[in-house]
Each structure stands twice: as structure tokens, then as C-alpha cells.
Symmetry: C2
Subunit: 206 residues, 2 copies
DNA sequence: TAGATTGTTAATCGATTAACAATC
DNA sequence: TAGATTGTTAATCGATTAACAATC
């Protein structure tokens, strides 16, 4: 029993901290405080200090946190001190946009494969990628040893794609299909559904 | 003090319930239970009953919930028993994909405007939409009375776009730019940043 | 030194779960 | 009636905040 159990809600805030710190770093800043970081993110300073203290003592009393150092620490903690290869399943508008997306650079990810089941798309190119047949998904992902995938197929196909991905050894899935997926323990899922996000706000509108 | 204060975390689950119920409805189902819904979503049955009971008594002992009725109730609660017009700012890959996205249908939203600041894009078409000049954003959004916008511009421009949107009367923003936005009270924001979602999972991978 | 800010503890606050009477 | 499932209460569990000694 070495590793302390970190609440998932804490883990969820770390990438936000990292993103803000990387921004500060690009702005040429050297040092920040829990208070400043908290103001940028809308999170209390106490919360940030408590979250970070779960992993070590990264700050200095009277001074705050050295930005470059804290970035390195967080990258290690989140395992993005490496570049993960990512497979995209579904070469529609969203899948294509993801393949072209520049925002994974320096954040730990690189899309390296895209699949579709439409014969009209298979073999054609998106940027520098050739769209591969979903029928070869398990084999290709396994061969490449890829652990992370994004699903951008229609809702009706998402569960079966998920099962194939798991068979191929994928452990983490970011799902853009508007449906809840069923996965065994040990497989991690995150969801992006813009309608869901919007509905969460319309509750407060009239 | 009439309206009970509902925790935001509860509000956040309602759209998930709605989405699952709409799926069941399309599958031809008439009735469900908190237990079944919970299994589909990975949420405890007690939680679902408690959440729903904040808004009324929608179920029947021994039977469960009438799906069609509960859908209507949730649509009213979330204010998606209407269709909200949505403006998109940024006509890059993501903005274009959103404009073409079919997934807003029956969920309460319809994209009706798209803006960009690139002279090469302004005036050209995406599907049936003509890309408008961001310089006219405030005027056009105000004129149309639009309350909801999505931001898909580069991070460097996102804060200034946000300020223009607020000036135009927008109250709810879904932000795809990988940056925390500063907004006054009364403006609602949701974030979509795939890197953030992925980093939340890589913590658990090794 | 004086001022600032951390890491941490204890107190508070809020969310989830278990359990069950009510009732369809 | 017997079985199932709700709505709700009380108990448990977990997360956030306030406060402050330590110390740079």
C-alpha cells in the first residue's frame, strides 16, 4: 500500500493547472502563487495548495511555485512527459477536424491512425493520413501498441467500436458519440457531447 | 424565496438522464426504473431518484417512470422544450464540423450563424451558411437576440471574442479554445478541451 | 526584519448511500 | 394479495474552506 489513493476529482483539476501554468510559461513568467493560479481558474487558493500537496511539496513559502518546475512535476504525475499515440475511429467531420487539430502538440498526444468503415472513404487521405478500414482496427492498433482512442462514429456504432478497441488493448477512450458506453473496470472513458454541455447551461437561462 | 436552490452537480446529471431516456424512447420503450437508468449510466439508483425528486414526483411505486412523460418533464426543466439559436465564432475545422453537425437536432439547439475574421473566409459558404465577419458579431447577434455561442477560435483570441459575445447579450458560452475564460457573474461557461480530457485518463495509465 | 505564501490541520459544508414506509 | 419500485429520511462519506504555524 504505497501509492496514496488520489480522489478522481483532484486528478481532474491537475490538467487545468498544467494548462494554465504552460500559458504563464509562454508569457515568460517564472513564478506564480496558489492565489494567482486560483484567480485565473476560478478555484480557491486553498484548494490548489491542497491538491498539489497530495503529490509533494512543490512550492516555497513566501515565494510561491516555480512555474517551469511545477510544469515538469505535473507532466510526470499525469504521465504526459511522453507522447501518446492516439487512434481516431470515424472519419466524418469531427474525426477529420481532430486529425488536423494542432492542439495536441506539447500536451502529450499525437494522432497516428484514423479508421472508417465507409468504402468510399477507406484509402483516401486526410492531411497526411490514409483512412484505414475499421475491419483492420483490432489488428492495426494492437500492432502499434496504442492505448488511447477517440470515437467519432455515429451513436449506433459506438458500443461495438468500443468493444473492438478494448479487444485491441486500448485502455482510455474519449467518446464524441452522444451515448453512454458500457466498459469493464480498468478501461477509462471520457465524454464530449456538446448538446449535453449546452443543456447544462440552458437550465439557468429563461 | 420560492425556487429551491438545486446543486449544479445535479443539474449536470439531468442532461445525461434525458439523453438516455430519449434513446430508450427511440428503442420503443414505455417505462423504465431508476435502477435500469442507473445501470445504463453508471449512477446509483438512489442518486437518480433523489435528483429527480428535487423537481417533482415523476414516478409511480411498483412501476417506475413513464419514459415519454419524464422526457417532457426534463425538457421543461432544462429549458430545451424550445429550440435555441446558437452562434459559432471561428470557421476553422472545428467550427465547420459543428456547423455541419447533426447531433443538435431534438436536443434543443440549432446553429444559425458562423463568424470568422479571416478575409479569405468571410463571405464563403459552409453548407448553407455564409461565413460572416467577426467585426459584425456584436451587431448581428444582438439583432438576432441570440443567447448561446460556441467559441472555436485560437486560444489567443478567445478572451476578446468572449467579451464581444457578452456585449452582444450572449449568456451561455461553450468554449473549444484551450484556455480559461474570465467572465462576470451571470454568464455561463462550459469547456471542451480534448487534451484536458485525455490527460485526466493518462494519470491512470503507465 | 517584515511581508508573503506555503503545507497542513480541523471545522464546515455538501453529496451520496442505505434503508424503509408508502403505495402502485 | 405479493412483488416491485418510488420518494424521503437519516447516516455516512467525501470535499472544500478557514486558519495558522512554519519558513522563505
Amino acid at each position: 500500500m504505497d501509492r496514496k489513493q488520489i480522489p478522481d476529482i483532484v486528478v481532474g483539476r491537475l490538467p487545468q493547472y498544467l494548462r494554465s501554468l504552460q500559458r504563464m510559461y509562454r508569457e515568460g513568467r517564472q513564478v506564480t502563487s496558489s492565489q494567482e493560479l486560483g484567480e485565473r481558474l476560478g478555484i480557491s487558493a486553498a484548494q490548489i495548495r491542497k491538491d498539489l500537496s497530495q503529490f509533494g511539496e512543490f512550492g516555497k513559502q513566501g515565494t510561491g511555485y516555480h512555474i517551469e518546475n511545477l510544469i515538469q512535476q505535473l507532466r510526470q504525475i499525469l504521465h504526459v512527459d511522453q507522447e501518446w499515440e492516439v487512434a481516431v475511429v470515424g472519419a466524418g467531420d469531427i474525426g477529420s477536424a481532430i486529425v488536423r487539430y494542432k492542439g495536441f502538440t506539447d500536451r502529450g498526444f499525437r494522432v497516428t491512425m484514423i479508421f472508417d468503415s465507409d468504402p468510399a472513404k477507406i484509402g483516401t487521405q486526410i492531411g497526411t493520413f490514409i483512412i484505414q478500414d475499421t475491419n483492420n482496427l483490432v489488428e492495426e492498433i494492437q500492432k502499434a501498441g496504442i492505448c488511447i482512442a477517440m470515437i467519432t462514429v455515429p451513436a449506433a456504432n459506438a458500443q461495438s467500436v468500443t468493444e473492438q478497441l478494448i479487444k485491441a488493448g486500448v485502455k482510455a477512450i474519449l467518446n464524441y458519440a452522444p451515448i453512454s458506453l458500457n466498459v469493464p473496470r480498468g478501461i477509462f472513458i471520457q465524454y464530449i457531447d456538446p448538446s449535453l454541455h449546452l443543456q447544462r447551461m440552458t437550465y439557468y437561462l429563461d
